[in-house]
């Protein structure tokens, strides 16, 4: 029985993990659509958990773990222990995005209890004990990493889709969006209003047109969604 048990175990563990395509949230996560959507209060309104590795001045990397707040042209914003931290994009050495809670702790505890229970197997414990350890450790480790995806550094701007503020940081933490330089000029005190579809964006001649990989939320249609202007 233990040998037969190993095959589904290996197959199940091999099926873990997400393809890199999940960085585009419009593609979904490869799951099955729900016929009965959950209550509206269950829809998450916070950012995903991230781990941002920041290059230090003294070659010592620093790691920030917390909720992803926003990504703009200059910074990755993270909430760490109720404190807002920002990391300049050039200083980002790596980002890991947690798509869902791993529950690795549960599996670790389950494995421990299971391994201890093999004492009730008598002589068979010589086989079932190590099997429990093998299955438990493997499951715990794979659970710990299967829920994370490593974000390529040249795709950092796509992270905005997973942020609490996908359009950029709001004023309480300091606006990251300055008044647009495009006409018509508005008085500084006025609140910015969304640009009408018919109004083209103008920019200085020296500034290149936004490409498909600019920071901020965008769609595949050029100009459909622009990153926050700075």
């Amino acid at each position: 029985m233990p040998a037969r048990a190993l095959l589904p175990l290996v197959l199940a563990l091999a099926a873990c993990g997400f393809p890199p395509g999940v960085l585009e949230r419009r593609n979904g996560f490869g799951g099955r659509p729900m016929k009965e959507p959950p209550d509206v209060s269950k829809v998450p309104v916070k950012g995903f958990q991230v781990s941002v590795t920041q290059r230090g001045d003294d070659d010592a990397d620093r790691e920030l773990e917390g909720e992803l707040l926003a990504v703009d042209r200059k910074y990755v914003w993270v909430m760490v222990d109720d404190e807002v931290k920002r990391v300049p994009l050039p200083d980002v050495a790596g980002v890991e995005l947690e798509l869902y809670p791993s529950r690795a702790g549960w599996l670790g505890a389950w494995s421990g209890v299971g391994a201890a229970s093999s004492a009730s197997h008598g002589w068979f414990a010589l086989v079932t004990g190590p099997l429990w350890l093998l299955a438990g450790v493997t499951s715990t480790i794979t659970a710990a990493w299967a829920n994370d995806i490593e974000v390529p550094l040249d795709r950092l701007h796509r992270l905005a889709q997973f942020a609490r503020y996908p359009a950029g940081m709001p004023p309480p933490w300091g606006p990251t969006r300055a008044p647009r330089r495009s006409p018509p000029a508005r008085p500084p005190a006025s609140r910015p209003t969304p640009r009408p579809a018919s109004q083209p964006t103008t920019r200085p001649a020296s500034q290149p047109a936004p490409g498909p990989d600019e920071p901020g939320i965008q769609t595949d249609e050029p100009g459909m969604l622009r990153p926050p202007a700075l």
Partner: protein, 135 residues
Amino acid sequence: MNRSLLLLLPLACLLASGCKSTMYQASFHQLPYRARLDRGAPFLKAHTLDGEVFVLADWKLDERRQRVVGNGLRYDVKRQVRARGALVVPYDRIVLLETNRPERVSTHNQFAAMILMTTASLGVTAFCLAYGVCF
């Protein structure tokens, strides 16, 4: 032994339900491009300039009065609930619209392996207790 294994089935089903997570497909559109919104999505989030977000079900765009209407919740910048029920969001407050479709995703296949292991282990325990040949 077969009976004890049958008794484990509800437990296995309960644990197996923990192998799936609800995740949300999302599409983002700025207001001028609202015509491309996924109108069939069950949820619409209206992100405002000041960092608030309205999460709406049964939502629709009221073009005549330039606003979004629906039933749901309004969260402040710290994501505390500030209002619930029938809500109206004027277009001039919105900086980004996000549609969400929930989906069930198999996320914890390791649980299936552990359930299998637990079932086998309990089977061995039951065998040992029944026949007393293990010690």
